[in-house]
Subunit: 498 residues, 2 copies
């Protein structure tokens, strides 16, 4: 695969001088068009050490309008980054629509280096690569243009280049001990890199390999690649949303009343007032002890609280809060996205709020809005929300993989119970503001929402992050159940950490 | 001052039980009103160790709707925080309009502790307190409600409380070595705290001292204070903007053509093409060496690039970029604020972008928009932009104080030169998009802008951050001058660090 980039491609000074002005003008032109476009551009400059990654990025910043290019070099993760799942830093850095980001030392550097140094097995590398594929596909599915450029050098060229850099006092500083180490490891590095490139060269995001030894050839080629890919993407007609059509649930409904998970819930479950008081205190005490221990051990937890309007989400949260330390939990009420959030991938705003180690984060509504309100109200196309099940599963997989204890709650009430509560709220002065016309509008779409909830539960109840369906016609019963489930999960996780 | 909080205030269980439900209902009510209001609420819970700061914050989270309360405990600064000026972490955490934040361990903790431990002198403490006063006044001027509560305990009570906490296995973990240390230092701490409270009890943001020994008294009192202050603030009629009236420049104009700094610039200064080429290369080489050294030493620099439309800001930036490493500079183009930025203090969005140690940040337009476009177009009231001069000076003082090398450039061209460039741009195909109708509209307000620029230069050219006025009718001359000034300042700063 790399042989083609060892042929000694060169560009003469004259040719370079002649071609650059035109290339620059065209790059500026597509960059200007990009600013009005509704997608971001992400350019990865990876490759062999000494192949000119830094120089290439600098050159691109010189050619492009640098005000609309963001350059990030991902080196060792900072303290804040280490406290979150590994991809947090990449999500944080994603450009908004109409912007371009250049990454040196991207999500490939870590996995490759670890494998070369023998810190991971071949299987572990493949696992990391498959996560990368998922990440990149999600970006592309959302409309992003991802360009991956690998700058290659043969071993001989690499050695020569290091010598040359070291000779010049102006560039000597750039050669580090690590570079020499990498040169020694070249023969080990090469097949691993080739494997990685092969596995991650997908139809949507193929790698492009550029020979790195001649600066003029390298610069012109990379500039040309970006120009062509961006121009092609800009010329692409907007994608027609797929006709809504028929959605097929995992379990096709039999004739008559469909049997769903929600339907099988026993909404008549209740708890006696005395038992409630006693057990509530017990569970709150447990929650207090467990969250304190979790803080000490750096075990984070995330709770997703979903449910029908008036199902009692706020009431559950208010029963948890007094048992915890306000300095270590965060409640994120999820409403419509801000315009900054809207200019990014829909998951970006949830990545933003991931808390540091040991903290509890409670989402009052969550990323599941994508497959609930956005589906039912048509804010997301069928393509988008169908795809979202896999995206949400992957997002949660990353949380759990990082050791975060994830609990997902659906508070379920009957349609009759809901109207009873609406009326009750309207009669209570300080609760009246909680009921708006929108609640009634949503209620009219009960059946559509119910279908969406069923699909959501079926498609996103995973081994590592199952949905907990809570019978909530009796508020007290629901509160106890949520507290107990949350504590149980946290307790189990803490035991494993001993 | 503290004697009044050592009288042994208590609230009986009966009274507490009777008063709490009403207080909670009212707190929820004002909190709901706050959500529609156009100001944020910041509550500081400070005080003596063991006086119940954490418990109070937890209680408030229980009483309020915790979904719209953000609690932050500022402990030791993280690595990311240490790389920025000390107040960065506080600016980052500021709540948006309509939201409430509770801070435990706020901007007072550090200065007080350092003084008690003898790490700072009395004069240094006063300097820090005066910075705090400025910060709080800026928040209040912007409409924020800042409530400062000091929880007090006598030495005897503090000792008793620690003993009690230690006896109970459930609470023992909360007593740290530092608590015992603080108890020993109580007699030293008390007069220092009293001094700090006195100096920072301003008319707009007075301290309230609450006796901390009885949990019921403490909780009720703090809840009551927040309720009253918030209700009063909500009831305040909107402030009428001051009539525009006459603005008085620092130097009143004499009769005839006013002599201003801008007028005295010699716009006929030029540079020969050969000299330009030679000197440009020299300065770029210097910039390269200096920014590399700055990265090694962790010296950050910030460049503010302001100037007339078509004065050549982008051209200057494009001459600097090739000399630097794209991984270590950031260009921030400043346009209209996003809605998230709009919901915060106008300086919040500039604090957001402060780079880490060793990096170069170039602002293409800047915080000076407040006293230029916002003044001229009426987006800021006269009150607001008049106040802004002091706020901007203070902001820059903090940057410089943190060791950041700040360079502020005004690119000046004549009115004739501007129209010449507009026409030229319209004739060049790939520059045509740079000219819009807005540029012509701005041009019609040339005199108003000129007045605003003169005022800005007069009022914000400080010892530590002077304006550099650049004669820019000759683009080449301007580019060289900017590069030279930037390098000179960076070089001086690096020499000092040796």
């Amino acid at each position: 695969m790399f042989e083609v980039a060892e042929l000694g491609h060169r560009v003469s000074k004259e040719e370079y001088k002649q071609r650059v002005p035109d290339l620059r003008t065209q790059l500026l032109e597509v960059q200007f068009q990009l600013r009005q476009a509704d997608f971001p551009v992400i350019v990865l400059i990876s490759g062999v050490d000494g192949a000119g990654k830094g120089e290439t990025v600098n050159l691109l910043n010189e050619w492009l309008d640098p005000r609309y290019v963001r350059t990030d070099a991902f080196d060792k993760p900072t303290e804040e980054e280490r406290q979150r799942p590994p991809f947090w830093r990449y999500w944080r850095a994603l450009p908004a629509k109409g912007h371009m980001a250049l990454y040196v030392g991207s999500w490939y550097s870590g996995p490759l280096a670890k494998r070369v140094y023998g810190k991971t097995s071949a299987a572990e590398l493949d696992e990391e690569l498959s996560r990368i594929n998922t990440f990149e596909r999600e970006l592309v599915d959302d409309g992003a243009l991802v360009i991956k450029i690998w700058l290659h050098l043969s071993k001989k060229q690499q050695a020569k280049r290091l010598r040359k850099l070291e000779k010049n006092p102006e560039t000597r500083w750039r050669v580090t001990k690590r570079d020499h180490q990498h040169l020694k490891l070249y023969d080990k590095f090469r097949p691993i890199a080739e494997h990685a490139l092969r596995v991650t060269s997908t139809g949507e995001v193929p790698w492009v390999i550029v020979e790195g030894s001649d600066a003029r050839y390298r610069g012109l080629t990379v500039g040309q690649i970006i120009l062509e890919q961006l121009a092609r993407r800009l010329a692409r007609p907007p994608v027609e949303p797929v006709e809504a059509g028929e959605f097929r649930p995992i379990t096709p409904p039999v004739s008559g009343e469909p049997v769903t998970l929600l339907n099988t819930l026993r909404l008549d479950l209740t708890v006696e007032p005395d038992a409630y008081k006693r057990e509530l205190e017990e569970e709150q005490g447990r929650l207090n002890r467990l969250t304190r221990k979790a803080l000490q051990k750096g075990v984070s937890s995330v709770m997703v609280m979903e449910g029908w309007d008036a199902a009692g989400k706020g009431g559950v949260i208010r029963r948890m809060v007094p048992a915890m330390d306000a300095r270590h939990y965060h409640i994120i009420p999820v409403a419509a996205p801000t315009d900054e959030e809207h200019a990014h991938h829909y998951l970006w705003r949830f990545w933003r709020h991931i808390s540091r180690a040991g903290h509890v984060t409670i989402y009052d509504r969550s990323w599941y809005g994508r497959v609930l309100v956005e589906r039912v109200e048509g804010f997301a196309t069928q393509d988008e929300w169908m795809r979202a099940y896999a995206e949400l599963n992957d997002f949660e997989d990353q949380l759990v993989d990082h050791g975060i204890v994830l609990t997902k709650i659906w508070l379920h009430i009957s349609k009759d119970e809901q109207i009873r509560r609406f009326k009750l709220r309207e009669e209570t002065p300080f609760k009246r503001h909680k009921i708006t016309e929108e609640d009634y509008r949503n209620r009219e779409k009960w059946d559509l929402y119910e279908q969406a909830v069923n699909d959501m539960v079926e498609r996103t109840s995973t081994e590592y992050a199952p949905w907990v369906l809570v019978e909530a016609n009796d508020k007290k019963y629901a509160r106890l159940k949520v507290l107990r489930v949350f504590c149980d999960r946290l307790e189990r996780a803490l035991k494993k950490r001993k």
